[in-house]
């Protein structure tokens, strides 16, 4: 299934600044796997060491959170959009790194 994965701003530094990636995948998990094999640096920002999606990153298939669908096994259709939505909170000087 031809899907598009939208890359949020904080992660674009790991995808050669690309804002979206097209790939072919049957499930959301496959699409993310394809993404992280093309951009290895992205992997640790999306996944924990034991292979689970990090809890401060949410993944949507079109406008639905995959946690409420079938998680990474959620099946995709042609033309679907996968959005990666990390928590952003800016950074006031006290918490700046």
């Amino acid at each position: 299934m031809a899907v598009k994965v939208l890359i949020p701003t904080p992660l674009r530094q790991f995808t050669d600044k690309r804002t979206s990636i097209e790939c072919s995948a049957a499930t959301v998990g496959e699409a993310l796997g394809s993404l992280t094999s093309s951009f290895a640096e992205l992997r640790k920002h999306l996944y924990t060491e034991d292979g689970r999606i990090r809890s401060f990153v949410n993944v949507y298939l079109n406008d639905e959170d995959i946690r409420f669908l079938d998680k990474e096994n959620t099946r995709t259709k042609d033309g679907d959009t996968i959005s990666i939505v990390p928590s952003i909170a800016g950074g006031s000087p006290a918490a700046a790194r």
């Binding site: 990090r54 409420f68 928590s87 800016g90 006031s92 000087p93 790194r97």
Partner: protein
Amino acid sequence: MAISTEAQSQQEVKLSKEEIQRYSRHLIMPEVGMDGQLKLKKARVLTIGAGGLGAPLGLYLAAAGVGHLGIVEFDVVDASNLQRQVTFTTADVGKRKSEAAKARLSGLNPMIDIQVYDTRLTSENALELFRDYDIIVDGTDNFPTRFLVNDACVLLGKPNVYGSIFRFEGQATVFGYPGGPCYRCLYPEPPPPGLVPSCAEGGVLGVLPGIIGSIQAMETIKLILGTGDPLVGRLLLFDAMAMRFRELKLKKNPDCAICGDHRTVTKLIDYEEFCGIRGEETPAMTDGIQEITPKDLKARQDRGDNLFILDVREPHEYQICNLNGTLIPLGQLPLRVSELDSSQEMVVHCRSGKRSADAIQFLQKAGFKKLWNLKGGVLAWSDEVDPSMPKY
């Protein structure tokens, strides 16, 4: 469904002749009218933060006639704030933000009551502060406070009008509405420090918080009036560069630690600890990281010591000012560590000393030993050694 005000005053609230004139453009709209304007007058809204988001927020809530406006803000106006914090003027630089914001907002609308709380929001004071207000608007910019605001709102049953920004993207939604999701439903845990770039590193287009803050003001007013479709269960995503709004569905998470069916969080916690931040305003120091002050570094360089200077900032920061160091941005360090010579004594620096501390921790794990963290980074260098170096 309007948020009902647990009004302390049992007196009937009316609009004066001056108020009717001031709010006439509201009054002639059926969606507001006299009833709506009275709801606004009785409303009690607390805004957390009088910065980038807080500026348009405060201005529009004051302009709309929100009768009781509270502002929590502990910071001082800095010149770099003026790129986006439009409540302040150049003459306000150095003043307390709470004072300057109150002056500006009461100048705009002297008919409302404005309370400022010149204090940091903490687990110790949040519940007490929030209790007197109907709606809380989160205009803060750090993870610990976001979780604190959320948790306090859930525990007290108050809606939390959320907005956040990063560079040129923004998010907005309403958390904590009865039956709706809360912040933890969306993000059960904060990112570990260093994994998500912060605004201070990433910068922000000044007008962006103007847009998101205005959206927060709009949502607050809609909640007060009980009109329109508020962003409950809807995450509004804004991309300023593409000029595109998107919406994602937010659902209440039945496993949510604070608002779910089997809640485990029943009181406020230590949010700095939760977010893995030690909560210090000075560069985070961990055991085993040696520091060198800018003065000492200068002295050693003048003496001719062979020190390798490693700059872990971003290329555009290097262009602003630099210490002639070798630039390897922090994010690239794991890939490029082989370019470094562990037998050389190395001073690692960044803008303020925090990223360089992270770099040193990484290098220590990679076996490097002769490492110094430049205390206070280029900011301190400008203060202590070379005032001609611009600060940013």
